[in-house]
């Protein structure tokens, strides 16, 4: 344990450098730069509002903000886990030649996505002002679901990056799984509007939905849903713990497979 910690400290600077590199290179190539991060969720939210709000006549005045909260959190989760899944293969050149703790690749990938995600929350702030949502003290609760989101993404990233070393076609499977996650995240509908009753079992098995639920509660000034918090918290930390153990057990075999 002590050795792992001192190793982590030694390579902390590398972790920072890799996160910086991801972010820098992402914006160096595009003309709109960081603006794109802000524009993209706004545009998709406009589309979703048009389809589900206006055409289907659902929602209400603050529906765009409701969609935006779900969209932002889901996009981070899907983007970071997909990128983390490829991280070991992408860095195979380095892994084969120099010793670096390997977990640093999925970790730095998720972290750089998280930084970009936090920046994109500015959009939500703007939208909340436009649609006249007054922040209450409940907004401070948002730190908890945001933290759980990071833990969940790190855990899923570790598991996926390990599996993807051995199975290249996992990418396609994960895309399908993400589709299920997306539709059960209630991004563009209210769960209460479903005909099946208030909360169907499947929502309780989607930790991302439960995280989004509590994030929305914070934004819309409602108290935290404790049951959702417990389940999503347990899910997130269990996936991180399992991910780390799984990764450590398999990492010595990586080199022969990449």
């Amino acid at each position: 344990m002590n050795r792992i910690w001192s190793n982590f400290k030694k390579y902390r600077f590398l972790l920072v450098e890799l996160v910086k590199k991801d972010i820098k290179l992402k914006y160096r190539r595009s003309y709109l730069g960081i603006l794109w991060t802000l524009l993209e969720p706004l545009l998709t939210t406009a589309v979703l509002t048009l389809v589900f709000g206006n055409l289907l006549g659902k929602g209400g005045r603050t529906f765009p903000v409701y969609i935006l909260t779900g969209r932002l959190l889901y996009t981070f989760f899907s983007g970071s886990t997909k990128a983390a899944m490829k991280s070991i293969r992408k860095n195979s050149g380095m892994i084969k030649k120099v010793y670096v703790p390997k977990y640093i690749y999925p970790f730095s990938t998720v972290l750089s996505n998280y930084v970009i995600f936090l920046i994109s929350l500015v959009v939500l702030f703007g939208a909340a002002i436009v649609f006249d949502i007054k922040p209450t003290w409940h907004i401070f609760q948002s730190i908890i679901p945001l933290f759980l989101l990071l833990v969940l993404a790190l855990g899923a990233g570790m598991i996926l990056s390990t599996l993807a070393v051995f199975f290249r076609d996992l990418e396609y499977l994960w895309s399908v799984a993400l589709m299920l996650v997306m539709y059960t995240c209630a991004i563009f509908y209210h769960v209460e509007d479903l005909k099946l009753g208030s909360r169907v079992w499947i929502f309780n098995f989607n930790p991302l939905y439960l995280i989004i639920l509590n994030f929305r509660n914070a934004v819309f000034g409602k108290p935290m849903d404790m049951e959702a918090l417990m389940i999503s918290g347990a899910f997130s930390f269990a996936s991180l713990l399992f991910g780390i153990i799984f990764f450590y057990k398999q990492q010595d075999k990586f080199i022969m497979n990449i």
Partner: protein, 246 residues
């Protein structure tokens, strides 16, 4: 009595080779159902033991596929041995594949920090040595140009300059460095020589017996993953020559 810096004990490295490479889930399931998942075990190294004291310069001889690179990778920490133990005292600098950790879209200056971090140096240390690295690499204004526009010589020069900025206890060399042009080669050889004079421990892999004789004082000979000879460079290289000629 000189200090022991490297101890390799009964090291073995086993690879599981599939008859046909299976690296996706679809193939895996099909092969599993048809019961065609067969692994072939293959020992790239077996029962390797030796120790190095401070200042020893060890040449590793062997034909292609004898396990030389595998052994170096295990010592450098890139591969983990299947069995056996390795204990190292001090900082290892592997001068293998210089610039492997570079990001091509990054400039030379940015890569100094990135590659330095890969080698486990701290930020302050790199900042302190930054000018020295740039000066030694002779890149001048090119340091602010993305590495993808570098020639291979320039890349290797930068890699060499970053890797040798520390004073290592153990230096791993794969073939003698042929870095950059004649002038830079002279400079890099001088730098390595000065490390030799300070008593650095060296692990050196080469096909050239002549180079090994010139640089090393001890040698080991590997054959099909086993240690077949160990001793002074004279003796071992003589055995190796006999094996080649027979």
């Amino acid at each position: 009595m000189k200090k022991e810096v490297l101890r390799v004990e009964n090291v073995g490295m086993k690879f599981n080779l599939m008859e046909k490479k299976v690296d996706d889930l679809k193939d895996y399931v099909i092969k599993f159902l048809k019961r065609e998942l067969r692994y072939q075990e293959f020992w790239a190294l077996r029962d390797i033991s030796f120790t190095l004291n401070e200042g020893d310069r060890l040449g590793i001889l062997g034909l292609n596929g004898a396990g030389k690179s595998t052994l170096l990778k295990i010592i450098a920490g890139v591969l983990k041995a299947t069995e056996g133990d390795i204990s190292i005292k001090g900082k290892i600098v592997p001068l293998l594949e210089l610039g492997a950790g570079f990001d091509k879209q990054y400039t030379g200056a940015e890569n100094i920090y990135l590659y330095g971090a890969v080698l486990g140096y701290s930020k302050d240390f790199i900042r302190e040595k930054y000018d020295e690295i740039v000066e030694f690499s002779e890149l001048g204004d090119f340091i602010d140009v993305p590495v993808k526009n570098y020639s291979s010589g320039m890349r290797a020069r930068l890699g060499f300059s970053i890797a040798t900025i520390v004073e290592p206890e153990i230096l791993i060399l794969d073939e003698v460095l042929s870095v950059g042009d004649a002038k830079f080669r002279k400079k890099s050889e001088k730098k390595i020589k000065s490390m030799f004079d300070k008593g650095v421990t060296v692990l050196f892999v080469s096909h050239s017996i002549e180079q090994v004789r010139r640089l090393c004082d001890r040698a080991i000979l590997l054959e099909k993953g086993r240690l077949v000879a160990s001793g002074s460079v004279k003796e071992v290289s003589r055995i190796y020559e006999e094996k080649i000629n027979s």
